[in-house]
């Protein structure tokens, strides 16, 4: 299935394509100087869907989700999140929208001058100002248990291993119950067991909190476990879009190199 006819198998697996999409990106262009990273990319994320985005390193996956939360401003194109055009929001409206979006950084981006507890508290007490101390503590405990690191509560990020940092970072993102989750390589650098646990957690979050997610990954196992729909980026455009079965059966050489 080549570009130009991407609609054939869209959303077979998710029966709500008739609904308003949670995220609707149209004709997105991003360039850094002479380097054109995204060229007219369009995608939709539907409600309660896990959309996996594949693509080789440097294909602009991180750039794509940074544009969604306006950490980067695209050169052209529109991005609608929950019905509002993010490019035209003022600072306050953008803040309100960001409260509903969870963003897991590829690098983790833990606040390294704060303990694990303070890291999780940081967004929580600032977004949910009315929460009592007890509720905050419970919420933090729950989030840490979800990622299997309840005993790391009072550690500093520098005392954690790479995989643990990633999981704490995930806990920090999930602690505020976002409607939309953007995972940037949630399983990269983790052992297979932990990777599977993270994939399960992603599925759990989807079911329990009814979140819609974009999951960026190179990890085919993670894609198999979590994807309702997969989208392959290449040369700044959507190369292929479909379900995991479509991808496994495909004869395209690029896809085959991922799914061997």
């Amino acid at each position: 299935m080549k570009k130009g006819e991407p609609d054939t198998i869209v959303n077979d697996s998710v029966g709500n394509s008739s609904q308003e999409p949670m995220i609707n990106i149209e004709n997105l262009n991003v360039a850094f100087g002479p380097l054109q990273v995204l060229k007219g990319l369009s995608l939709k994320l539907y409600k309660e869907e896990n959309l996996v985005v594949l693509g080789k390193s440097g294909s602009g996956k991180s750039v794509l989700i940074k544009c969604i939360v306006q950490l980067l401003k695209p050169d052209s194109g529109t991005i609608e999140v929950l019905g509002s055009n993010v490019g035209s929001l003022n600072r306050k409206e953008l803040g309100e929208l960001r409260k509903k979006i969870g963003f897991l950084f590829q690098s983790g981006a833990l606040y390294d001058s704060m303990t694990v507890r303070e890291n999780l508290e940081f967004p929580l007490v600032r977004i949910r100002r009315k929460m009592s101390k007890k509720e905050v503590d419970d919420k933090i405990k729950e989030a840490l248990e979800n990622v299997g690191l309840a005993d790391a509560l009072n550690k500093m990020p520098s005392e954690l291993s790479g995989g643990m940092r990633k999981r704490i970072s995930l806990a920090r993102t999930l602690v505020v119950d976002p409607l939309i989750m953007l995972y940037d390589e949630p399983t990269t650098g983790l052992d297979p067991v932990t990777s599977d646990e993270i994939s399960e957690l992603i599925n759990l979050v989807q079911k329990k909190y009814k979140t819609s997610s974009i999951i960026i990954t190179h990890d085919i196992e993670c894609a198999r476990n979590t994807a309702n729909r997969i989208l392959m980026l290449h040369d700044g455009e959507v190369h292929t879009e479909g379900t995991i079965e479509n991808f496994e059966k495909s004869n395209d050489s690029l896809i085959k190199s991922f799914f061997k």
Binding site: G33, R98, K99, F103, F105, A109, D112, P123, R126, I127
Partner: protein, 279 residues
């Protein structure tokens, strides 16, 4: 610094149309445009500090932590430097005063110069080195490791949490440190006097403080607030706008110290003109 690209385009255009701009001209115009961009951005940065200081949800806890950090980090260094400056100044001034037979004026004269100039400027320069570079490096590394972005996307204001608290803490703490520096400086001066003479502390203190009046102390205190603000603003500006990669952390810290020290001296120059006009 994406904004300088148009000039690069002009260059291509110019060569096509046989209007020749030498490489040097282009380089100079790029430097100039970077400079003006920097000044403009700094002005916006300061405006944002004002706006966010007076908006809701002030980060009081972080503010107190920063005050403690600044005081705690710099006080020992300031105490030692202040005392030594007091000793040195006293020893250096004695021969000149002795030749007029005015050695009794030594405590008063040294005290005035410490309170008016040495105390505030030494404190500010030490803080520019210690506090300014610390802010540049800390915020710079937070920027590089995407921690500032992470605060931004979690709908908490990194600016309010990181910048506003630090700038206010530096502004409020510097005058306090200056008072300490003055105290230690005058104490150092007492030691200096006693190397060659014998004046007891009570007499010395009354002589020293007797010669300081209101118009010595207040302008010095006021300018200390400005020194603090300058150090905080420059340190945070350089850190918050650090580029990508580890080397920009070093660059941010370094340029924070250089610019903050320079700005302190410039503010001092402006302050002395204003005080002079008022007196």
């Amino acid at each position: 610094m994406k904004k300088i690209i148009p000039i690069a385009k002009v260059r291509g255009y110019a060569t096509n149309k046989t209007i020749r701009l030498s490489d040097k001209t282009i380089e100079k115009s790029q430097l100039a445009s970077i400079f003006f961009l920097d000044v403009g951005n700094m002005a916006l940065f300061i405006a944002r500090i004002f706006r966010e200081t007076f908006s809701r949800n002030f980060e009081f806890k972080e503010f107190l932590r920063q005050c403690y950090e600044i005081g705690n980090k710099s006080l020992p260094l300031i105490a030692v430097t202040g005392a030594i400056m007091g000793v040195v100044l006293t020893i250096q001034s004695r021969p000149a005063l002795a030749s007029f037979g005015a050695v009794t004026m030594l405590p008063g004269m040294v005290a005035v110069s410490i309170v008016r100039e040495i105390g505030p400027v030494i404190t500010a320069l030490i803080c520019a080195g210690k506090v300014g570079s610390g802010m540049g490096a800390e915020l710079g590394s937070m920027k590089v490791s995407e921690q500032i972005d992470a605060m931004e996307v979690s709908a908490t204001s990194p600016f309010k949490f990181l910048v506003v608290t630090r700038v206010l803490a530096a502004t409020l703490m510097l005058p306090i440190l200056v008072i300490f520096a003055d105290g230690f400086g005058i104490f150092g001066s007492w030691i200096g006097v006693n190397i060659k003479g014998d004046v007891n502390l009570v007499l010395f203190t009354s002589q020293a403080f007797g010669s300081i009046d209101f118009m010595d102390f207040i302008p010095a205190l006021v300018k200390s607030y400005f020194f603090g603000a300058v150090i905080g603003i420059v340190g945070c500006y350089k850190g918050y706008n650090a580029g990508k990669g580890t080397e920009s952390v070093g660059k941010a810290a370094n340029s924070a110290v250089v610019l903050a020290s320079l700005m302190v001296i410039i503010v001092d120059l402006i302050a002395v003109q204003i005080t002079d006009m008022l007196a």
